[in-house]
């Protein structure tokens, strides 16, 4: 029951996150590429998406970390803090894909609800890429 309620709450946060992606323009590849194209007609609007998101999220994250646990009593996810070749290479490769398409993972999933057939090649390729990276990570540590 607790797991179910927690999943329901998480579903609500997913809807809210998706609504933010739609409203902000992040699901529009033309706007994303317009933001990334500083040499053409630069459209800085999308910088305000990350800016506002971080400003709003910051007090939540800092307060939660000070508490040391979530409201439900669960522990906090603590990602590693290492800056290594894998992090930099991964981020660089992701950036190329994001620049080519103007689509990052969140908007891709929102597009699954909007136009599943049109976004299918992207989403299937994301899955293939993730599986490939898992093999790479297991086989050889950078």
């Amino acid at each position: 029951m607790k797991t179910f309620l927690s999943a329901l709450l998480t579903l609500g946060f997913g809807v809210l996150f998706g609504a933010g992606l739609v409203l902000s323009g992040m699901i529009d590849p033309a706007k994303v590429q317009g933001f990334l194209d500083i040499a053409g007609v630069w459209r800085p609007a999308l910088a305000f998406v990350m800016g506002a998101a971080v400003l709003v999220a910051l007090p939540f994250f800092q307060w939660t970390r000070r508490r040391g646990k979530a409201l439900t009593g669960e522990g906090l996810e603590a990602p590693p803090q290492v800056i290594d070749v894998r992090l930099i290479a991964g981020a660089a490769i992701f950036g190329v894909g994001w620049g080519l398409s103007g689509i990052c993972p969140g908007p891709a999933i929102v597009w699954l609800g909007l136009s599943p057939a049109a976004i299918a090649p992207f989403v299937l390729a994301v899955i293939a890429g993730a599986l490939l990276a898992e093999l790479f990570k297991d086989g050889k540590s950078v």
């Binding site: 040499a39 439900t72 992701f94 689509i103 090649p121």
Partner: protein
């Protein structure tokens, strides 16, 4: 440089919703709304229920936007071949670098993580360079 400042208000409002969703998820459950990780885990390991719920929430947001007649772009922009190539890079890169625009960009920066700041700087630069090459070629600004 020509700057088009349209859409800043909705970008910031959408960003605030994203921040609220990411902050709310962390406060209530200690979980990080890193979408590439959440989505990738659905296929690379036995997924937790909350990850399935979050992804369904994102899809529902897209469906709701479609039903609600919110102004949305016609399609994800590029053709299937380019989408597949971009998706492969996005899937591989985010898995290797442990995050994308949501995990590193929103949650990581709100956690004041230096590792995420490094990742954001790298993928922003690599995406901007990619858009520059695609739109303006290597010969300079057209």
């Amino acid at each position: 440089m020509v700057i088009d400042t349209s859409g800043i208000a909705t970008a910031a409002a959408g960003g605030a919703l994203i921040g609220l969703a990411a902050g709310g998820l962390y406060l209530t459950s200690g979980r990080i709304a890193g979408i590439s990780g959440i989505f990738g885990d659905l296929f690379t390991r036995r997924p937790a229920l909350w990850k399935v719920a979050f992804v369904i929430g994102l899809i529902l947001a897209g469906l709701a936007a479609r039903l609600g007649g919110v102004g949305i772009p016609n399609g994800p922009g590029t053709g299937p071949a380019l989408l597949a190539i971009a998706g492969l890079l996005v899937g591989f890169g985010t898995r290797l670098g442990n995050g994308c625009t949501s995990g590193h960009g929103v949650c990581g920066l709100a956690r004041l993580s230096v590792r995420s700041l490094a990742a954001v700087a790298v993928f922003m630069i690599s995406a901007a360079v990619t858009v520059y090459i695609v739109r303006h070629g290597l010969g300079g600004v057209k």
